[in-house]
C-alpha cells in the first residue's frame, strides 16, 4: 500500500475506424456493392516507479513506456442479383471477392535511475528494458451464393467459397467449402388450414466450413531470435515446420422444425451432426526432440446434439396479467473418431484418445483414505493383468481416464411477468453432468502440506481421518505433510452440475399522466439481483466459470481449473431510468 501513493501507470488509446462503402445500381437486377474498411488502433502506456517507493529502491526509480499499433483492412466487392418471375418465383444471388489483413507492432523501453517526478526516458540514468514485436496475417476468399424462394413456401439456398489463409503452409493455403439448405413453410400451403397451428416450418441444411489455427505462422520452423548470449544475437529452435498443415474442416448436417400454436406457443427443435476432420492442434514433442511442437491436422471428431426451445404466453393478450415463459435445453456429445497414427495426445490434465470425449480428464484416480493409518490411496493398475489395487505412493499410481468436463445437458428458464406497472423477470440456468478440476484445493485442502496457507472448511459430508474416525474422506492431517495427498488426482475433480438464479429484476414504470407534470417522457425504477442463488455440490466459488475454463477448444488454454478465472459476481443493483 505504501507504494500506491508514489507509483502509477497511465494509458492513452487512439482508435480510428474508417469506411468507404458504396453501392452502384447497374440495372433493376444487378447491384454492385463495395465495402472498404480500415481501422487504426494505437495505444501508449507509461509506468512510473518513484525512487522513494519500496519497489523503486533497487533501481532508484524507473520509467517505462510502451506503444503498440494495429492496422486492419477489409475489402469486400460484391455483385448482387435479384429477380422475381411470374409473381411467385424469387431468385437472389451474389458473387464476391473478399480480402482482409492485419498488422500489429509494438515498441517499449524503460530507464532506471530517475529524478522524482520525471516521466521522460531520456532523463533516466541507465538502461532498464526494451521490447518490441510485430506480426501479421491475411485472408482472401471468393464466394458465390444463390437462393430461390417459391411463393414463401419453399426456400433453397446454395453457396460455395474458396478461402485462403496466410496461416497455412504454401502447399495448402486454400480450402473450398460449400453449403446447401432448404426450408418448407407448411403453414403457407393451401391444404394446411387449421387455425390452431399458426406456424409449421421444416428446415434442413448441410455444409462444410473451415477453421484456422490460432498461431499466425503455423507452417514454419522457428529459429527464434529472441535470445542472446553475452550480448550477441542467438537463434533457438522452437516450432518445427509442417508445410502441409491445412484447414480444419467441419461438415455439419442440421434438421429442424418450428411450430407455432394458437399464436401463443412457440416450439422449436433442432438436431445436428457435425464431423470435423483435420482437427488442428499444436502437438508437443517429447523434450528429447529439442524442437518444441508442430502444428498438425491431428484427427477427426464427431459432435452431435439436440436443442429444444419452448416459449409460452400463459394468458391471453387481453388479460391484465401477462406471463411469458421460455425454456430451452440442449445436449451435446462428442467423440474423437481418429488421431494421427491412432496415438493418444496429452493436453495438460486431459488426453485425446480415439473413441473418447475430447474433454476427458486423465489423471490418477483417488481411492480414498486408508482406514488403518489415514494415508491417501490412489488406484494402481497392473499394465499386464489390468488388476486394480490401491497404493499410498503417488508416483506408483496409474494415470487413467476419470471423467469429462462435457455436460450431459444444459439449458435455461426465463420468465417475464407484467401486471399493471410492475414487471418481474427471472432467469435460471442449469447444467448437469460435467466435472471440473478444483485446482485451488491442492493448496487449501492439502492435509497440512502448506500449513501457512488459509485452509478451507471441510464441506458437508467430508470428514478427517483420525484413529476414532477411520472411515473418512480426508487423509490424516500432518504439519508439513509430505504424503503428496494434495497432488493432482481425481480427488479434486468435482461434479460441477449447478442450477443458478442468474437474474431477478423487479421493475416499476410510472404512468405517463404523472410524468407529464414534470416534463418527463419516462420513469422506471428497478431492483435487480445477479447470481443470488446457486445450487451446486461444487466446493469452490463458481462451477460455471470453472467449466468455461475447462472446456477450451484444442489449442486454447486447457488449464481447466477453478482458480484460473474470476468467479461470476453476486450483485444487487437498484436503478432509475429517466427519459426526457
Amino acid at each position: 500500500m505504501y507504494d500506491l501513493q508514489f507509483n502509477y501507470g497511465q494509458g492513452q488509446t487512439f482508435n480510428i475506424l474508417s469506411n468507404l462503402d458504396f453501392s452502384y445500381r447497374i440495372n433493376d437486377k444487378f447491384t454492385f456493392e463495395s465495402m472498404n474498411n480500415l481501422t487504426y488502433y494505437n495505444q501508449t502506456t507509461l509506468s512510473y516507479v518513484d525512487p522513494n517507493s519500496n519497489s523503486g529502491l533497487g533501481n532508484q526509480g524507473s520509467v517505462s513506456q510502451f506503444a503498440d499499433k494495429r492496422i486492419t483492412r477489409f475489402f469486400n466487392q460484391m455483385l448482387k442479383y435479384n429477380d422475381t418471375f411470374g409473381e411467385k418465383h424469387n431468385v437472389a444471388a451474389y458473387a464476391a471477392y473478399e480480402y482482409s489483413d492485419y498488422v500489429y507492432s509494438s515498441v517499449g523501453a524503460g530507464g532506471k535511475g530517475i529524478a522524482p517526478g520525471s516521466q521522460i526516458i531520456d532523463n533516466a540514468a541507465d538502461f532498464l528494458s526494451m521490447q518490441g514485436t510485430k506480426n501479421d496475417y491475411a485472408f482472401q476468399s471468393v464466394l458465390v451464393q444463390a437462393s430461390y424462394n417459391y411463393d414463401n413456401r419453399y426456400n433453397v439456398q446454395a453457396s460455395y467459397r474458396i478461402d485462403g489463409s496466410s496461416r497455412f503452409g504454401k502447399n495448402n493455403q486454400y480450402g473450398s467449402f460449400y453449403s446447401l439448405s432448404g426450408a418448407w413453410n407448411v403453414h403457407n400451403e393451401a391444404f394446411f388450414n387449421t387455425d390452431k397451428i399458426n406456424q409449421l416450418r421444416l428446415k434442413a441444411s448441410f455444409g462444410q466450413v473451415g477453421n484456422v489455427p490460432n498461431s499466425l505462422y503455423a507452417s514454419y520452423s522457428f529459429y527464434n531470435l529472441d535470445g542472446q548470449y553475452n550480448g550477441q544475437p542467438a537463434a533457438i529452435p522452437g516450432q518445427y515446420q509442417n508445410l502441409d498443415v491445412s484447414w480444419e474442416r467441419s461438415r455439419d448436417a442440421n434438421v429442424g422444425v418450428e411450430l407455432g400454436l394458437f399464436n401463443r406457443v412457440n416450439f422449436t427443435a433442432e438436431a445436428y451432426y457435425k464431423n470435423t476432420n483435420g482437427l488442428l492442434y499444436s502437438v508437443a514433442f517429447p523434450a528429447t526432440a529439442g524442437w518444441s511442437n508442430q502444428w498438425m491436422n491431428i484427427g477427426a471428431i464427431r459432435n452431435k446434439g439436440v436443442e429444444l426451445a419452448l416459449n409460452v404466453d400463459v394468458f391471453n393478450a387481453d388479460n391484465p396479467f401477462q406471463w411469458n415463459l421460455g425454456f430451452n435445453i440442449a445436449t451435446n456429445s462428442n467423440k474423437i473418431k481418429g488421431l494421427k497414427d491412432n496415438t493418444d495426445i496429452n493436453s495438460g490434465n486431459k488426453r485425446f484418445s480415439v473413441g473418447r470425449d475430447i474433454d476427458s480428464w486423465y489423471m490418477r484416480r483417488w481411492a480414498g483414505v486408508n482406514p488403518d493409518n489415514g494415508a491417501p490411496l490412489w488406484e494402481k493398475i497392473d499394465p499386464q493383468t489390468g488388476e486394480v489395487t490401491t497404493t499410498s505412493n503417488y508416483n506408483e499410481a496409474t494415470l487413467q481416464f476419470v471423467g469429462t468436463s462435457t455436460p450431459k445437458y444444459q439449458g435455461g428458464l426465463l420468465s417475464t411477468m407484467e401486471y399493471k406497472n410492475f414487471t418481474l423477470t427471472t432467469s435460471l440456468a442449469f447444467l448437469k453432468g460435467a466435472y471440473a478440476y478444483n485446482a485451488s484445493r491442492e493448496l487449501f485442502d492439502s492435509d497440512g502440506a502448506y500449513p501457512t496457507y488459509n485452509n478451507m472448511v471441510l464441506q458437508k459430508g467430508w470428514s478427517r481421518w483420525s484413529v476414532d474416525n477411520p472411515h473418512a474422506t480426508h487423509p490424516v492431517a500432518m504439519y508439513n505433510n509430505n504424503s503428496s495427498s494434495n497432488k493432482t488426482s481425481s480427488r479434486y475433480l468435482e461434479d460441477a452440475s449447478f442450477i443458478r438464479l442468474r437474474n431477478v429484476t423487479l421493475g416499476y414504470t410510472f404512468k405517463s399522466a404523472l410524468l407529464s407534470k414534470y416534463k418527463l417522457k419516462g420513469l422506471n425504477i428497478f431492483l435487480s439481483g445477479d447470481n443470488l442463488w446457486t445450487g451446486t455440490k461444487f466446493s469452490s466459488l463458481d462451477p460455471e466459470t470453472a467449466l468455461s475454463a475447462a472446456n477450451g477448444s484444442p489449442g486454447e488454454s486447457e488449464e481447466g481449473d477453478a482458480t484460473s478465472q474470476y468467479p461470476s459476481p453476486k450483485r444487487v443493483t437498484f436503478g432509475i431510468n429517466l427519459s426526457f
Partner: protein
Amino acid sequence: MKLSKIAIYGILGAFTLNACSLDRAPYTALTNESIENTPGALEALSLGNYHTLKSWVENWHRVTEYPSDNVSLSGSTTDNLFYNYNYQRLVTNSRVNNYWSNSYKIIAGTNAVLEVVKEGTDAATDQIIAENLYLRSLMYFYLANVFGRPYNQNPETNLAVPLQPQDNPFEIKARNTVKEVYDAIEQDLLRAEKLFTAYKGNIYGNVYAAQALLARLYLYKGDNEKAIEYANKVINSGKFALLSTADYTKIATAAPENNPETIFAIKFVKDVDYASDGWYTIGSMYANIDGSGWGEMYASRSYLEEVRKYPEDVRYSFIKPVVVNENELHAYYVNDDYKYESIVVSQSGTDYTYTENGTSKTLIKRSNGAGSFEYFINIGGKERTVLIDKKLDARNGYPKYYILKCSGQEGQAHLWSPVISRLAELYLIRAEANAKLNKIQEALDDVNIIRKRAGIPTAGLWTTANLSGKSALDVVLEERKLELAWEGHRKFDVFRNGKTLNRMYPGTHIANQNSYLTIPATSNVIVEYIPEQQITLSNGVLKQND
C-alpha cells in the same frame, strides 16, 4: 456517371493488386527458408545453445545442489524444488521436467549445428564443432548423474538417459546405460579437445573446459590415472590462477572473464540478463539483498560448523547471518528434534557465560589448534556444538544464514554467472585421484593449496601426522564440500564414493516419519524420476527409475 465508374474501377484495381498475396512469415524468428540466406546464422544457432544454457542452469542448480547437505530450507513451499530438497521425489516435479527439457533442447541444438558443418572446413568451423561437442557432453554428463546411478554401481545395466545423436524430432529413443552415456561423453570430449582452434575466453566452450570435464568424468568413472593426467593438463596450462585469499569473493562477484580461476562459466550480462530485479534467480532463494529475493534457503548447520572451524576461513564470507540485535549474543545449538535453539551469552575474553536455572555457567571451549576455539554446551543431557552469533533474524524458527555465493556479480543484487569448472576443482580432482591411488602426501599437498588460499593458518593444514583417524579421501571430500559448495558437486561427491548423505540438521526436509535423515548411496532416491510427462510423450519408450 463516367467519373464514378472510373473511381470504382480505380479503387477496385488498387485493392486487388495489393490484395493477392497471402505470404506472411514470422518477424521474430528465422525459418528454414530464411536461415540459409542469413549470414552468421550458424554462429547464431551455436550461440542459441549458450542462450539456452542460461535457462538450463537455473534448474541444474536446483537438481544438483538442493539435494546436498549444504542447504537448509526454512519452510514448505508449493514450488516443486521442495521435492529436490527433501528427497520426496515426485514424478510430476516441474523443476525436473524443466531441467530435462532444457538439457535436451541444448543437445538437439548442438545436433542441429553439428549436422550441417563439416570437420576440417576451416578453423572457425572446427571451433564451432568443438564448442558444440563440449556443450553436448556437459548436458549428458549431468543428465547421466541426475537420472542415472553412480558409475561404480553396475554402469553396464543401470540406465541413464537416451543418447539422441540426430536432429530428428520424430525419433524417440530408449534410455542408454550409464556406461554408454559416459563412453559417448568421453568420445565427444576427446574429439573436441583436438578440434578447438581458438580460446575465446572462459564464457565459451574451450579446450581447457573440455579437459576439466574429462578430468571430472574420469574421476567419476574411477579412472584415477586419467583423472590426474587431465587435471594436470589444465593446471599446467598456465592459463588459470587461483584467486588470492583477499580476492576470494570475486569467484561470485567478478564478471567471469575477469576471474582468472574460472575455466568455464555461463555468462549472465549485467542488466541485460537480469529480469524482475533478480527475484527469479538462483541467488534469490538464498538471500534478500537490497529488498530483492525470497531468502528462504540457508546454509546448512553442517556446513556452518565446518566452515567456522577456523575463523580465518574466507569461505565464510559467502555467508551472511542476518542480525536483528547487535547487542545480544546468542549461542545457537541444535536439539534432539533437529531444531535450532539458542541461549543468551555474554563474552569475557575468549569465554562465554550464560545463565541456566539461575546459575551462571561457561560454554565449554576447545582449541582448534590454530589460536581459536570451538564452543560446546552441555544441555538436554548431552554436549552440543554451539555457534555464537549476534541475535539472528529467523524464519519459522530457522535463523537466517544467507548464502551469497550465487549473488552480487558486478554489484547487481542477484546477478550470477554460474561456474561449471574452475581451477580449485582441478586441484581437488587431482587430490581425490591421488588419495584413491594411495599417494597420500600428493593428495594432502593439493588439499593444502586450497586450504592455504582459503586463509586457514598453517596449523590447520593437513599432514600425514595430523589426520587422526581420517583417511585422505575423507579429507579431500570435506575440502570439496567447503570449497565447492553451491556449485553443484556435493550430492555426486557423496554418492559416487559410496558414502551416506547426512542430513541430521535443521530444515523442513525433516517433517513426517517418512523424512530422509540419512541417505545411503544404495538408496533409490539418489536419482531423480524421469519426468512422467516425458514418459507419456514418448509413449512409454522411456522407462522409469525405481
